[in-house]
Symmetry: C4
Amino acid sequence: MANLKIAFAPQVEPSAVPATAPFAMVNYGCRITHRESAFAMSTLTAVVDDLVAANRILAGLGVLDGFGHVSVRHPDRADCYLLARSLAPELVTRDDIMTFDMASAPQNRDTRTPYLERFIHGEVFAQRPDVISVVHSHAATVVPFAASSVPLKPIYHMSSFLRTGAPVFEIREKFGMTDMLIRNNAQGAALAEKLGDNSAVLMRGHGYCTVGGSIPEAVFRAYYAQLNADLQQRAVALGGTVTYLEDEEARRYDETNRSVIGRPWGLWKAKFAPKD
Amino acid sequence: MANLKIAFAPQVEPSAVPATAPFAMVNYGCRITHRESAFAMSTLTAVVDDLVAANRILAGLGVLDGFGHVSVRHPDRADCYLLARSLAPELVTRDDIMTFDMASAPQNRDTRTPYLERFIHGEVFAQRPDVISVVHSHAATVVPFAASSVPLKPIYHMSSFLRTGAPVFEIREKFGMTDMLIRNNAQGAALAEKLGDNSAVLMRGHGYCTVGGSIPEAVFRAYYAQLNADLQQRAVALGGTVTYLEDEEARRYDETNRSVIGRPWGLWKAKFAPKD
Amino acid sequence: MANLKIAFAPQVEPSAVPATAPFAMVNYGCRITHRESAFAMSTLTAVVDDLVAANRILAGLGVLDGFGHVSVRHPDRADCYLLARSLAPELVTRDDIMTFDMASAPQNRDTRTPYLERFIHGEVFAQRPDVISVVHSHAATVVPFAASSVPLKPIYHMSSFLRTGAPVFEIREKFGMTDMLIRNNAQGAALAEKLGDNSAVLMRGHGYCTVGGSIPEAVFRAYYAQLNADLQQRAVALGGTVTYLEDEEARRYDETNRSVIGRPWGLWKAKFAPKD
Amino acid sequence: MANLKIAFAPQVEPSAVPATAPFAMVNYGCRITHRESAFAMSTLTAVVDDLVAANRILAGLGVLDGFGHVSVRHPDRADCYLLARSLAPELVTRDDIMTFDMASAPQNRDTRTPYLERFIHGEVFAQRPDVISVVHSHAATVVPFAASSVPLKPIYHMSSFLRTGAPVFEIREKFGMTDMLIRNNAQGAALAEKLGDNSAVLMRGHGYCTVGGSIPEAVFRAYYAQLNADLQQRAVALGGTVTYLEDEEARRYDETNRSVIGRPWGLWKAKFAPKD
């Protein structure tokens, strides 16, 4: 999975990234992140640092509270992923990161308590080889859309990734009465199927997930999904007609976003990532 | 009341807690709290520390402002409870904790000014032997539901404890014109009756109370009751149909919650509890 | 005006304050304020300290931003009042406090730039001898009620002071086209007349004012007026019927509030007042 | 362009500014800014300091997040403007400021990555010689109005600058399918035309821009445009009739505002500008 190493290589100048660069060549585009240099530390180390940063960023932005989690595909083992042990994201450090295989079994004889819902991550990684990172959240503005018949739609370019829709996963369809959690691979697989090729999936009575071709992209989508929910709610409440993004507009911006996503990511790391 | 000591014993590993463990065996499940070790300090000391933490947490989370309070049943004397003297929760320290009997009379010849509404706590503890902790709040999102004909209902798993409903206490029914406060045992008893076997009770023109089988559980419910109110409000405003949790879904999650409540509690203590 | 000195005497124990105490005997009821002791500094010094604290508190609570102001009647000269020079409340220090007479003319040959709208304060103090402190604010939740045909009403006990209503001042009625500001004594007098015997007055296209029998009371009312506006808005948006406080309930709580107002005031001073 | 130097001269006393002073004579009116003295540093240095402050202020107030930008006309070269390199506003320092000509080409052989949307600034400066500063934002409360058929209108004096309206720019009209960004001079010119003589323009599916006769004025308008959007939304949701400012009221306040704008600006600089 050599291209994943490229994904986190920090020394490509933003201006050198072609507008059509695949996600795997996305560079965060911020000088602040230059300590991730491949010369200074291994790719795995850099990825773990970014995963810890993602935990703190999502907590700092209010996307996650005591619950929710963010994962990344293992940079050296495409059949594994990295995820914190069961812990509030705001408290996660390097030492809390565990490795899981695609069946969400802990690797390296790690006996620490994992998140009950790690199967979300394993099954999405298994079904979506293009996905490098997954966020699961209960953010306050999205839960109403997960409970409502009104669909979430992109109201501005920042949420262009919603252009294909954010389908609502109804756990009762296949599993009847549950405690609402994704507790095993069958439930994770059903959720991943509902996600399909989209960038986000809502979960009725629960929350939502976003996926991305990099940690910054999954985090960006988790943040702007919940912001879009608030904006759409406000637009609906105004009582007039609302114009959403056209599919083609959103598709074009989604490409553009790859060249500018380093800007918020650089800011968020500077504000929320642990200072060594 | 020996089982209460177990309730606060911190050294049981979360993974060792059976899914059906009664509240009294709930362990906070967070390594951060290991200074509460029974070996390091007495149970009463640990409970008072948690009560102080609960005051600071509820203020830090915006559930309480200058008003409102949180209590805990006395760990050694089931006929008594602990509650701060009349003081804003954000300022409460160990030295501010007073002991009251079930009639809400101060013990130990304590002459400090108590909260006018301590009778809420005394009567709930008297009528509900399963309750270990009580929170009373005026949180902004809940007061509208206490004044509205629209009932508060669980919109996601985090507020599963609302599954049996949050009845609205109308003080005029038994007491006519009052200053809205629960100022004596008769008013406290009427409120406790309205609470019944539920986990929350709304108070018309005033606020609400949540109860729990531990301090973390009562705090968790106070926090998520006000969050659910905001989410439900948003869902209603979208104008579509809204799907609430089924009773069985909520009942199942309520059990699950006992094994994960240590996660937000650990975070909240780390953020808001006084550093010794 | 000897009774005003009593108003700020800090050493009366809260428990010693009878429920029917007139505002002038209100003691802040918080040990944190004991440095205001009449033995340690003069009444004027204590009042100025409280006025500075009120500026910082209102900014800290988000009731005031760069605009708005708070005044207090002069403790030794009933025909004068104290108000900061033209400066954002969050930046006000002791040295910024100016003295004005009832016509809002600066005293002591003070040539610093005063607030354009100081006439609000002068005219309210002139028409309402019971008023000791006045707050003028543009707080976000209240401006909509000042522009709407929907009246602001008390939804819970904390805003009992709204029981007699918060009339809307329409500056066009007497003054036609203006820049919306209260720029002279005639405009101030018309606003004070609209206030009448109420505790709050809304100003169409502008903001609102609250008055109180002490600095803490005026600040408390400014804070809870804007909180009530948010709560009422939420209750209305739920779409059901809304029950407001009965006049007698509100009247009774208003009296109770005098004995507990020291609790939020103590908290707010501890959080926002300048540390010497 | 000598009058621009006057625009930033800090030593004119606010009281000396006539009510009819043109924008170029506006003094910030706050002693806090006296380190900008023309005696202590050159005009360009002072302008760059204010531009950096504007970046931090807009981020600190939540008007900008990782995206958005603020520019100022060059004080010595009316055919140029100053704007940060592509960077989150909260991170901008003096060294990040670039110079562009009216065609938005970087000057001084500066090869750093510029904002993709710098053409907004170049074209507005070209078409509006009275404009000294431009802000572009995606603030959450305004985007709904940019997507809705409901027009943004001034609900109180602070947003008087909206009196002539905030037209909505529909990029599809001239450019069909785009990525929604203003990526070239033709798109910038169309946006500037839609802005016309107004102080704000909304951008469908994107955000908005405000302009001003000084940095503080453009920042003030960016802040109060998004606050007005929230207030108007709340007023609409109340369901009654809403009274907006009359044109003449707004026109008069707009003039007044020139003499008081130094107050929030002084506060914002004190809170958010970098300490040297």
